[in-house]
Symmetry: C2
Subunit: 221 residues, 2 copies
Amino acid sequence: MDNENFQEKSKEVSEPTIRRLPVYHHYLLKIRNENAPFISCTQIASDLGLVPIQVRKDLEVTGVEGKPKVGYEVTALLAAIEKFLGWSNVNAAVLAGAGHLGYAILGYQGFCDYGLNIAAAFDNDFLKIGKFIHGKPVYSADSMESYIKEHKIEVGILTVPAQYAQEVADIMIKAGIKAIWNFAPAKITSDNPTVIIQHENLASSFAVLSSKINTDKIKRN
Amino acid sequence: MDNENFQEKSKEVSEPTIRRLPVYHHYLLKIRNENAPFISCTQIASDLGLVPIQVRKDLEVTGVEGKPKVGYEVTALLAAIEKFLGWSNVNAAVLAGAGHLGYAILGYQGFCDYGLNIAAAFDNDFLKIGKFIHGKPVYSADSMESYIKEHKIEVGILTVPAQYAQEVADIMIKAGIKAIWNFAPAKITSDNPTVIIQHENLASSFAVLSSKINTDKIKRN
DNA sequence: TAGATTGTTAATCGATTAACAATC
DNA sequence: TAGATTGTTAATCGATTAACAATC
């Protein structure tokens, strides 16, 4: 019953709110380091360039209750955000494609804090196979399917060239992967609607930037 | 007057729409390669997993008019999207921080199509300075400021470690950069409100994915 | 002509913001 | 007590979706 309630609650939380939660988390880590036990949404908003009411609404989803005049308990908020995002229970992941983007992601500090443990990387390049990248082993692409099955990996990170993205995704899904984080500039699909697929699209992000630049240039004329 | 109208128009376009424009663009390139002169929003929607009315609304911002029963002219749409996003007039850019993420971005196919020309990269590492990465020269970080001034660079890409992000951004802004695309996991700010700063936050993206996984796990229980 | 598809106006949905009583 | 800050309910704003006449 509790679980059902939580499920309902999770479903309702908007993506913009979810995207802000790690920003609060990162900020709260800093506050905790400064040994401040409490923080008000007024302060958070001012430091992060947001409005207090938005912070209050966002933090509402964590279930942590603040004290009027005092604010929210920093450690409680941190724990609640981690719990909400599922960062407390570790997700084992594999990464396919040990190119430069793959390297960069393997070396991204903080993923371990975020409940993502990249167990291994897979590539076709003989020069990379058998080596370690940021402490993670690189294995032959052929062995990925059995590795995923054996270690019950649930998350796959795709950093292969676009033309191989679907093919590699299919292998991941066949092996039992539950979620794919796709960095290849290609749309991948799955017959299985329970597989979570999230696309990271650099072109979309750049479009936001370039349209701002463009609007700006028009203004200046 | 025309300019003013366009300015008003640009201002109104929502970020979700802007983020979808490159997706249409990429799709339309494929359609053009198949030598189809026209495409309907019904077809686009079906292929991209969207609804027709949304595609119609999005494409409205390009100013291209479709023909009932026929659809939109593919080449006209491509040109209009490129124009809207400012991809037709090239933005010269520099990249600071030739680590793996920097490497990956320097090698990202398609940026040239998107009106982004990364002219040079800058780094502190003597092993990298003087070399070429994906055909782009790597210069000493010390020379970045003068390079930006001399070549009138307007876009800066930040792929330095978080602790140096603000420092490097300050140099870029001082040298006259108009827009910063920040990949470092750090918030950077500028006193100058005309400087466009866009943050790329991997943690936010991962939060969306992990909250989906988490909701899913709760459902399965 | 018939019917698919467009452009436009209106309705719905959801996120943000405002207002304000409760409270520490 | 006074006042800052919370939690909650209502209002606003904006994006998506629906409806439908116009049209090729």
